[in-house]
């Protein structure tokens, strides 16, 4: 039997995220350790696309900055992958392609006629722009990923070693904690409100979603208990990790959560393409509701937080264009992240409850007992990184304006890497979303439950719960 590795992708994401955060923190000691990283600007002329993140490195060319950033990220990830037991030469080769395609998409999305918001349109001598902000590059990356994954299966197979969207998003989330910590200093009551309301929202989501999906799968689609429980967790809670945790809790065969997970990935991609735009159309007056909605409705960490980031950009752009209100960046993403983080924390607890119910009342087999230590085993470690970076920056930056200045410089550096890991997430999610699976024989029944539950009530209950707890909560105005 293969020995279980201590290091998992989740723990690696925590370590790498904290490493980048610590490099950024050197700003507090007067060292700008990440200022050389590449910043993508909104552009109309090619020479303006790239620049170093910080003025400390203003003499460095944008291309050198890009190459340094690529080399640094590749090195850091390669060291991590080495300990994870990955195929290093293959990873470096694949990651190089993934990095430059993803970055190219980000650059494309930053083209001024696509990205320029109304307040800077005149600066680019434009009369009109889509006003999607630089985050439009995320959508371009997602679409590019879908094209590669579905129309170039050979290329997708070659890139397999670097297709790790969950790891990329988890690294980004650890750094996102720091950014939100700095923002929270300037709006403490808003941040505490978002955190508490996020907690309320997910308690509701667990209790209502899971029971309804399980009932629909059992009663109307005649699925067995072994299939219904992972399916209910996968569709209603947090996609892949919830399906796997529930499968283990009720002792389902490994095949079951794997099949459910493959479906989750495809539908996550569909949600990412639809829901942020729906939120922009209907919720531009309630940005935080939109953020929480992304966290509750879109499955998988990558999908939900990435959707939160797109909704953040789209809604801020629309609010600015329609009403002239310029919301501070990141709060919609924070709402989505907070909700998703709480969901992740509760996966272990929910699995434990299900295991106890199954073992005690439903399919009691001698010698099978769920231990509470299993809850700790399933606790996602990257969540610790998010909480730690959030609290450190909150505590430091609340101590005085000078430290707040250092905090802002820190997140300016980590924010660059967070953005790059976001765009890597979008592209790789697209590549791993194989839509052909929906047409595979036998999967129709599974997909039908997913469609009925997701579009029938999960999205709408999620919207209602988000509205209930987040309506009237507005991000600070710039």
């Amino acid at each position: 039997m293969a020995q279980k590795r201590w290091l998992t992708e989740d723990k690696l994401a925590l370590i790498l995220g904290l490493f980048l955060f610590l490099l950024g923190m050197l700003n507090f000691a007067g060292v700008d350790a990440l200022g050389w990283s590449v910043k993508t600007n909104v552009w109309t002329s090619l020479d303006k696309i790239l620049s170093p993140a910080s003025g400390t490195y203003k003499n460095m060319s944008g291309v050198v900055s890009l190459l340094l950033t690529y080399a640094f990220i590749t090195l850091v990830l390669s060291v991590g992958l080495r300990f994870l037991g990955g195929d290093l030469p293959k990873f470096i080769k694949s990651f190089t392609v993934v990095f430059f395609i993803s970055f190219g998409c980000w650059v494309l999305g930053s083209y001024a006629p696509i990205a320029a918001t109304p307040d800077i349109v005149a600066k680019f001598h434009l009369k009109w722009s889509l006003g999607l902000t630089g985050e439009a590059g995320f959508i371009v990356a997602l679409v590019a990923g879908i094209i590669v994954g579905n129309f170039m299966p050979g290329v997708a197979e070659e890139l397999k070693e670097a297709l790790r969207p969950e790891m990329y998003i988890k690294i980004a989330i650890v750094m996102l904690g720091a950014e939100l910590g700095v923002k929270a200093v300037e709006a403490v009551s808003l941040a505490s409100s978002v955190i508490f309301r996020g907690l309320c929202a997910i308690v509701e989501a667990y209790l209502i979603y899971w029971a309804l999906v399980y009932f629909v799968a059992r009663k109307y689609f005649k699925f067995s208990r072994e299939w219904s429980a992972p399916l209910a967790s996968g569709i209603s809670i947090c996609g892949v990790s919830a399906a796997i945790a529930t499968g283990a809790a009720i002792r389902a065969r490994p095949l079951v959560p794997i099949m459910v997970s493959s479906l989750v990935v495809v539908f996550t991609c569909i949600e990412m393409l639809i829901l942020p735009f729906a939120a922009q159309m209907g919720l531009s007056g309630e940005p935080m509701v939109a953020g929480a909605w992304m966290g509750l409705a879109v499955k998988s960490d990558g999908g939900a937080i990435a959707s939160g980031a797109i909704a953040d950009a789209l809604i801020r752009a629309k609010a600015l264009a329609d009403t002239g209100v310029h919301y501070q960046e990141g709060w919609v993403t924070m709402a989505a992240t907070t909700v998703k983080i709480f969901i992740d924390v509760f996966i272990g607890i929910w699995s434990f409850i299900l295991a106890v119910v199954w073992c005690t009342f439903i399919e009691c087999k001698p010698g099978e007992r769920m231990k509470f230590s299993a809850v700790l085993d399933r606790f996602p470690r990257f969540v610790l990184g998010y909480v730690v970076t959030f609290l450190i920056m909150l505590a430091l930056c609340a101590s005085g304006p000078a430290l707040l200045g250092h905090g802002k410089a820190t997140i300016a550096g980590t924010g660059i890497f967070r953005g790059i890991f976001f765009v890597l997430t979008f592209f790789t999610i697209g590549v791993v979303s194989n839509f052909k699976k929906l047409w595979a024989e036998g999967i129709g029944k599974l997909a039908a439950v997913y469609v009925v539950c997701l579009f029938g009530f999960i999205i709408w209950i999620g919207l209602f719960i988000s509205w209930l707890f987040f309506h009237g909560v507005k991000p600070p105005v710039v």
Partner: protein
């Protein structure tokens, strides 16, 4: 991929109908009832102790 498709097709075909057990019904009803009841309680708590903060 082909193998995966065959496996899932077989799995769907051989799945036998299992009627809802009383315990499953209880699990569903309790979960929904606690969910709806706590909705009211949590809404009150959040509105009372964490009033909507409209930025700063």
């Amino acid at each position: 991929m082909q193998l995966e498709q065959e496996i899932i097709a077989q799995e769907m075909q051989k799945m036998e109908h299992e009627p809802l057990m009383p315990m499953e019904k209880k699990l569903i009803i309790w979960s929904l009832s606690i969910g709806v009841a706590s909705l009211v309680l949590l809404y009150w708590v959040s509105a009372t102790f964490f009033p909507a903060a409209h930025g700063v």
